[in-house]
Symmetry: C2
Subunit: 219 residues, 2 copies
């Protein structure tokens, strides 16, 4: 049970295992968490169902924000663009320009409105090879921008920033994250495809720890 | 006629006279303009109709982005909150937390996708007494954040930043802005209410120049 004096935080929740781990980490730090889930036209809408499940399992509140990116240009928004397979050099086709900037901006709006002191985001090392809005220097610059553009001080935390997928899974295990309720696959079919880069990194993470993924992989 | 080599720009267009002036300013600078209009749950939805009219009058493209701020907390989003009247001390009730941060973030996404080099925003001195995300130091910090979080360099321009409403109207006149196609009133009725702070500043601006507003005011 949290006391009424618990600090509150907005947690960006995608339904994947990274943000689920961040949610449980924030809770373990004593924050009352308000999850922000985005329905942004992603083809793998299924992750939203999982995000809700995780928020509920953790006993947290959540808000769904519906937005459109009418300009597409990403494999996550446009069926005609092929999803990245395993390791890709440079920017993967799943990149949605400024997506984390948009998500964090909504989190600022939400945080200030509900007087939350902190925002948590699950950006991490594996992502920032390709995604500019996952880099540590971006997070630092966003933090400074928020200080100038908001009435209240809102801190931005990215506790996974320098962790590998295996380290995130290990941390999630310790925190009791229900990984069976997390969804990573970009295809959003009945089972994870096991072929897209998101599935690849997830499987590699579990394997390197000698663990099985609690989610079934399509054969 | 613009040549194919015209640089392109994303212009945040609200339907009011500030952003309309910015649009005509950007065009005068030789930019091919792509307007971004937000349908964000504002009670004065009427401004969207005017924004489209201005975009069309200027011969520019536009995109409408539909988003929700499910947390309300502003007189622009919630009928139960009274609109500010004339001059208010501190933050007016029309303040939507982080609205410009959200709008500029979408502009970054759009700009990078269409390879526009610049974003124009109509933030200005009159606003930044109350709105933290209209202050010059915010615009500067946002610019630095964009440099860290994007693949491509996108410049942010706020050409009205240090201008008063009267100076903006004077500039708009010179540029041929069709002020009759701009809408400022927060109430969004058949005619402008003439009572909200947005109407107040608009009327004051025209009056100080000895001009009449081409839009009819409700008696």
């Amino acid at each position: 049970m949290k006391s009424k004096k618990s600090p509150s935080a907005v947690v960006l929740l995608s339904g994947g295992l990274d943000s689920a781990t961040v949610l449980y980490w924030a809770k373990a730090q004593g924050f009352k968490c308000y999850c922000l889930i985005f329905d942004y036209g992603q083809l793998h809408k299924k992750e939203i169902i999982y995000a809700k499940k995780i928020a509920q399992a953790s006993g947290s509140n959540y808000q769904i924000v519906k937005i459109t990116f009418p300009w597409k240009g990403s494999a996550l928004l446009d069926k005609k663009i092929a999803l990245p397979k395993k390791i890709v050099k440079g920017v993967p086709s799943s990149y949605v320009a400024a997506r984390n900037i948009v998500f964090l901006s909504f989190a600022l709006s939400f945080a200030e409105t509900i007087k939350a002191q902190r925002i948590f985001i699950g950006a991490h090392a594996q992502d920032y090879s390709g995604y500019p809005d996952c880099r540590p220097e971006f997070i630092a610059a966003f933090r400074r921008m928020a200080q100038k553009g908001m009435l209240e001080k809102v801190e931005i935390s990215a506790p996974l920033l320098f962790k590998t997928k295996a380290q995130i899974i290990r941390l999630g295990q310790k925190l009791g994250v229900p990984f069976a309720l997390t969804w990573s696959c970009y295809r959003g079919g009945r089972y994870p495809c096991g072929k897209c880069d998101s599935c690849y990194y997830r499987a590699k993470g579990f394997k390197s720890l000698g663990l099985g993924d609690p989610l079934k992989i399509k054969k």
